[in-house]
Amino acid sequence: MGKIEKLTSGTTGGPVFVYVEDGRIIRITPMELDDTDAPSWEIKARGKTFSPPRKTTLSPYSFAWRSMIYSPKRLLTPLKRVDFDPDGKRNCTKRGESGYEPISWDQATDIVTAEIKRIKREYGSSAILSTPSSHHLWGNVGYRLSTYLRFMNLIGYTYADHNPDSWEGWFWGGLHHWGFSHRLGIPEQYDLLEDALQNTEMIVFWSADPEATNGVYAAFESTCRRKWLKDLGVKMVFIDPFFNHTAAHIGGKWFAPRPDTGNAMALAIAHTWIAENTYDHEYVATRTTGFDKFADYVMGKEDGIAKTPDWAEKECTIPAREIRALAREWAGKKTMLASGGMGGMGSACRSATGNEWARLMICLMAMQGIGKPGINIWGTTQGAPANTDFLFPGYTEGGISGDVDNSAAGFRFVYKMHDRPTRSFVNQPMGQHIPRLKIPECILDGKLEWRGKGFAGSAMEAQFHKYKYPADGYPEIQMYYRYGGSFIGTMGETNRYVNAYRTDRLSFVVNQSIWNEGEVGFADIILPACTNFERWDISEFANCSGYISDSYTQVNHRVISLQKKCIEPLGESKSDYDIFAELSKKLGFYDVFTEGGKTDLDWTRQLFDATDLPKHISWEDFCKKGYFVVPIDKDRKSTPALRWFAEDRHRDTPDWGPHPECQEEFGKGLQTTSGLIEFECSSLNRFDPDDPERPPIPKYIHSWEGHHTKDLYDKYPLQLISPHPRFSFHTMGDGKGSWVNEIEDHRILKPDGHYYWIIRLNSRDAEKRGILDQDLVEVFNDRGRVICAARVTERVPPGTVHSYESSAEYNPLGKPGESADRGGCINLLTPSRYITKNSCGMAPNSCLVQIEKSAKGAN
């Protein structure tokens, strides 16, 4: 045995120590902090002092990294589809069926660069479509907004913009009540942990499961805090069609409204407060506008239907008396609403009724005085004390791209990091771009209209902008440079994505990926990338920045780690940076891409120097220790989120918005034109006051795929919800020989050797169909068919079924795009329809299916 080195790295689930012996990673662990690291924070509340454990936590999938690094599905050499000949027959419609043969890097980069040049010569660079998957790896240098954007900005491309997938209803709906466009409609969360420990009496988790989703990237950092709150006697309520893991862990009252009908419950709560006069009159009068109109709707004065608990019971199935009891308890206790794991988000916002849900969450809290002590929207994951003055960028700040248009580089970091940042003049609102959710339509139909370019949070109105594809005078897409392979698992109605590859309308597809999974096997050329354990990088625990500004307030200690190159890239795989550098040589811009030959380590050092780290630790010491814990000023002053607003003061929180241009007086009030919380949204009144799908006040609008869509409901009587998964980070951690597959609540191994994706259904629904626990079943609707393993449970009510989204495996039993999948891509079944015509977000949680026992496979 050789010498064991203890190195450091970072993952999407927390920073890690990496033990390496003889060029092999042998162990990956969370970090235990030592006495030389900065002290932990302390919060004094209700006669007690709270301080977190002196270690970092780690998400399940991060423990499985070794099984993914040394995965049987690793791509170890460039591959070419056997029946693809760039100079002869391309056989594009065979994609997904043909096999592959290994080729050399020189051959692969020859083909890819020749195709890029051909497309540019014949059509122009905007005929190249490209998009990456999200959350693939961790690290500010190697992240997609950094290395990938730097390269793509130099070749020019039509970008498939990511929709704000986790935010949807908050972005398209909630935002109009209060702005926060710089957070895509979700409110700031500063210092709400201290506020809750000191003042809060009840927490309502509404479509929030922080133990499963870990905030974002923040592992189990907030788990101990919810335990503190529970031990203080803070009451917990859970509203979720699934008895989620936070509910199971911490306990409390559980309400399971029928999917897509929680809005009726919300309106009935408002009704009870108005009827019983238990809302905050003074706050509503001074800090909001438009309440009367909302109240008229709630009480039935507008449409003749009083939104009483009895009315709501018929919609959502929750007994009226229990809705009243909840409303009374809520009004009587200082309550935090965890409407989604980040304060916002939550799977309820990704549904046909997601806009109205997010809107109602804001309106309910406005009625109870949001911002007053103990009363707020707080996901329980953010808002720990932190040093927010210390500059270290999050991954959205563009890293080595410096792209001020398509990352948050322009916020502050580009000025510290770069002399010559990169931009694309195609990937601009005035250039050509398409939405990721409609890639298949753009490729196959060749035309599309929609509103909003990607994460359109620059202003409240940015989402209203109308776009079309092709943009006037721009070419149609001819080539697809895909980076990763997740979309069949993560988008909606995803047989579309399969079929979009199998067409002559795309003459060339290249995929750059670490593993051969999902849609990777639909490319003509596959370029093997390596993991972030095989290259240099630098990162901070759970630091996103940008639209999740100061997201490190999720973690108990701000830990910045050097991501050391722990081992050489496996096989012939290369870092993304080195792949792009190779391509740059043949495209003539190597010196521009690498700024004269910089390596990933050079960029890592440059990024280190652009942060506040050098004020505290030398590069040499940082390299030696591998990580740094950001110290907190002992006299740091707590500034709870929105307290300033409730008290009508200038904002005192470190939030990065709103921009002065959208405020009457900078720093005073919210981003709405009134500066107040608007029950009736002035922005929607200006856009289209007659939009029935998104009216100026939030309303109860039937789901376009739910129990009121009678014909479809008769045929497919089970309502499927598919939230973000618990044990994988989307497709990261799933499939690919990962140990996560063996978790019995993630997949179930059947005698045929396959790990089947799980669908959870109530015992009564199972009995009706003769289904036993762990049976193979077919879940289907008009969009497709997925073979899953059944989990018979009481954790969902009859009529509701639950499965997670994001299978990494796509494994069709017959012709791709047309046959049942036993990989587990539950998103084959979910709709591709936008939330509303003008709200171009996804709605996978409005999905009707039927389930039957499978005749296939290994029951």
Binding site: T57, P60, A248, R328, W739, E794
Partner: protein, 286 residues
Amino acid sequence: MKKPFMVMDVALCQGCNNCFLACKDEFFENNFPPHSLAQPRHGHRWMNILCKERGKYPKVDVSYLTAHGMQCDNAPCIAKASDGAVYKRDDGIVIIDPEKARGQKDIVNSCPYEAIFWNEEKQVPQKCTFCAHLLEDGWKEPRCVQACPTGALTMVRATDPEREHMVVTEALAVYCPEFKTAPRVHYKNLGRFTHHFIAGSLAFKDTDECATDAEIRLTDDSGQAVMETRTDNYGDFIFDGLKKDSGPYRLEIRVPDYQDMALTTKITESLNLGTLFLDRQEGKTA
């Protein structure tokens, strides 16, 4: 001598599986002679997590129990092995010697906890070692404990008398005591996993309001009170910690101004009685 043993609190575990995965991380493709050979990529559960869901919608709870090598003081695997292939160390940890145990497949079935796994490739039985190689290297705790984010798993070092004292003072229990193997893994709140509840809700029929703060008694066959509770603001009540196949139990409900209600039930598994509606009794006073 202070010896390591494990305490697992069922009430603190949320089934995150970090312990299961950390165990894989430690042993996959890693040999730690003389304690263990590498674990295969898939199939072994040296750290296993059992899940128990109780009740019927919507009165339900979910608990987890970590079941791994119990390091029994009366270990059947030691008795089963030939040539001293399985042995107990002075510190109580039970080790399967990977060299001596080669080919001894019978050892796998000797474990009533099903905590021993057969490595087909290497032809050896394998199980949890409490990460003995790490403890010898100065680690304070094995990988599963380090990975646990909730404090559900702890490794305690104590002399035998100290451990016995702890078992009493902290109400520690053994999983499946009927196996009589004297495990060195103890559980807190094991009842969440092994016992059952009766739950339900109370409501007033006339007003359709939740019956808050109502008094409910659970009595046994002989009329002896087993437990008493009061409904919460949703009218919900629960009696937990009841043995499987016990009863009959009698539930007595008394609320001022409403007719008394009583019902009798047996326990085969956790029970949700649903919503019980109370009739108003004219003229009745508290």
